[in-house]
């Protein structure tokens, strides 16, 4: 604990969690410095199967969007075709790897602990989509499609949202094309839509579809992605 007469950074206790703030504390009202605010509110993710139950503004109006051919966005909420990307994907880290794996998939002792790209779904979603534990699945968005081994687990339960049962898909994002272990890159699926303050793309919640089996190879891959996109239009 800092003494009572401590000043500036010396007055910040070691256990204050908001290290980005001058006083180490969380602010509910942020008078300056934010692109959005000053009060916290709820927006749906940029790609979400749902509308915003609070008000008509669905997603953050200040988010940075890039409407370019290589960055198509999935239809969302009530838009036609949203049902083709019905599941909510979230990407996350595993303890064994570091970010996109460039520094850990080259290390034997780490690679052997998580040696393959996998994808976590609930037993309910597995039954609904015909996915088999240990088998392959193709996960797709309007940008790309990747393949992963199926880990069917109760840890990723479906959520009841606005009266609709909504399935989640868990995707570690540590794989790529090189290293001791290679596999689908989850970030290939996500869109480039950035948070207005820190300019981080939205990879913790976006919409995808899933089907059993390995992904198409070569030129068949963009065709496969585009066919679904066309159907959604």
């Amino acid at each position: 604990m800092p003494p009572d007469d401590a000043e500036a950074q010396d007055a910040i206790a070691g256990d204050h969690p908001f290290i980005m703030q001058a006083d180490g504390r969380s602010w509910l009202f942020v008078p300056q410095g934010l692109e959005d605010g000053p009060l916290p509110t709820h927006y749906e993710p940029h790609e979400s199967p749902f509308g915003n139950p609070l008000y008509s503004q669905r997603a953050n109006p200040r988010r940075q969007q890039f409407k370019r051919p290589e960055n198509p966005y999935n239809p969302v909420a009530d838009e036609p075709g949203a049902e083709l990307y019905p599941y909510v994907a979230t990407t996350y880290r595993l303890t064994e790897h570091h970010t996109a794996g460039g520094m850990s998939r080259t290390v034997p002792y780490l690679s052997e602990l998580q040696p393959a790209m996998f994808c976590e779904v609930s037993p309910e979603l597995a039954a609904e989509a015909g996915l088999e534990h240990g088998g392959w699945a193709t996960i797709y968005s309007s940008r790309s499609a990747i393949e992963a081994r199926m880990l069917v687990t109760d840890r990723i339960p479906p959520l009841e949202i606005q009266g609709r049962k909504t399935h989640q898909i868990g995707l570690p994002y540590h794989w790529g094309t090189r290293g001791l272990t290679t596999g689908g890159a989850a970030n290939d699926l996500s869109s480039i839509a950035l948070d207005p303050n820190v300019h981080i793309q939205e990879v913790k919640a976006f919409s995808v579809g899933i089907k059993p089996g390995r992904r198409p190879r070569g030129e068949a891959l963009p065709r496969f992605v585009e066919e679904i996109r066309e159907r959604a239009r």
Binding site: Y109, E112, L113, F118, H133, G134, R149
Partner: protein
């Protein structure tokens, strides 16, 4: 005379591990630290689909193994994710050490059980003798060319297991896995002290109604005389792939030698009996 007495003045206090699985977070730092320190080779990039566990079992190339058990408890409908870092138990009465025909396995001055790799000839007897399936033969290509090509198999061929970081102990350091453990799930120390600590921890968990908390291998009266590396588990041992009531089979050896002696006598008697009807 116990093995420890033979060390005379060099004998040390018995040390071991208390692995408290109730605070294990499944980070596998113990596995990596062990491999780094002991130069244990990577042994296969095999994805199992068994929760987050791709190590699967202890063996020649895995001296720490973190088990991941996913449980749904029907009565509360909550999910429980048990994690537990398994290791060689360094038994008080160790079957591997007893059956080793070369003396490669020995009891150190710290009362731990270690394989001398320059003595092991790869007979493999300790592998099925261990009631926990800890030891295994290393099947990996050997670097140096064999001296006797006809007799030599192209692999390491020896048996490897946890040494409780014998070299680190000698230097006054704790084993690599315990050093790396961020939650103190793996605790290293004098065994008596660890047992006391474990008793207190169990008492606390039981008072907090942690259903299923129990100590495994703490009891010096069990089938292997107590573990040098014991555990606090949150479910039955077999759920973690551990035997519920391990025994050192050499416990029955005197009786087995008697049986063998009688059988050997019976073999001679059988031959003699075959001549009863005449010598032709």
């Amino acid at each position: 005379m116990s093995a420890l007495d033979s060390y005379g003045a060099e004998a040390q206090e018995r040390v071991g591990f208390f692995t408290d699985t109730s605070v294990c977070i499944g980070c596998k730092a113990c596995e990596v630290a062990c491999k780094e320190w002991n130069l244990v080779p990577e042994d296969g990039l095999v994805w199992t689909g068994e929760s987050y566990d791709n190590t699967s079992e202890l063996g020649a190339n895995s001296w720490r193994h973190v088990a991941f058990v996913e449980q749904t408890e029907p009565e509360v409908d909550a999910l429980r994710w048990l994690m537990s870092s398994d290791v060689c138990k360094h038994c008080t009465h160790a079957a591997c050490l007893d059956v080793c025909p070369t003396g490669a396995l020995f009891r150190t001055e710290y009362s731990t059980v270690v394989v001398q790799e320059d003595v092991c000839n790869g007979c493999g007897y300790c592998v099925p003798a261990c009631p926990f399936g800890v030891l295994d033969k290393r099947h990996l290509p050997r670097k140096d060319p064999p001296a006797l090509p006809l007799l030599t198999k192209k692999e390491d061929g020896r048996v490897w297991k946890c040494t409780l970081c014998y070299d680190r102990l000698k230097g006054g350091h704790e084993p690599a896995c315990a050093k790396a453990c961020p939650t103190d799930s793996i605790q290293f120390g004098p065994l008596d002290e660890l047992r006391e600590r474990a008793d207190k921890r169990l008492e606390k968990l039981q008072a907090e109604n942690w259903n299923g908390a129990r100590l495994y291998g703490r009891d010096p009266d069990d089938g292997v005389g107590g573990f040098g590396a014991f555990f606090l588990l949150l479910d039955e041992p077999e759920v973690y792939g551990l035997p519920p009531d391990p025994v050192v089979t050499t416990r029955d050896l005197p009786e087995m030698w008697r049986t063998a002696a009688i059988a050997a006598g019976a073999v001679v008697a059988g031959v003699v009996a075959a001549f009863v009807g005449g010598s032709r």
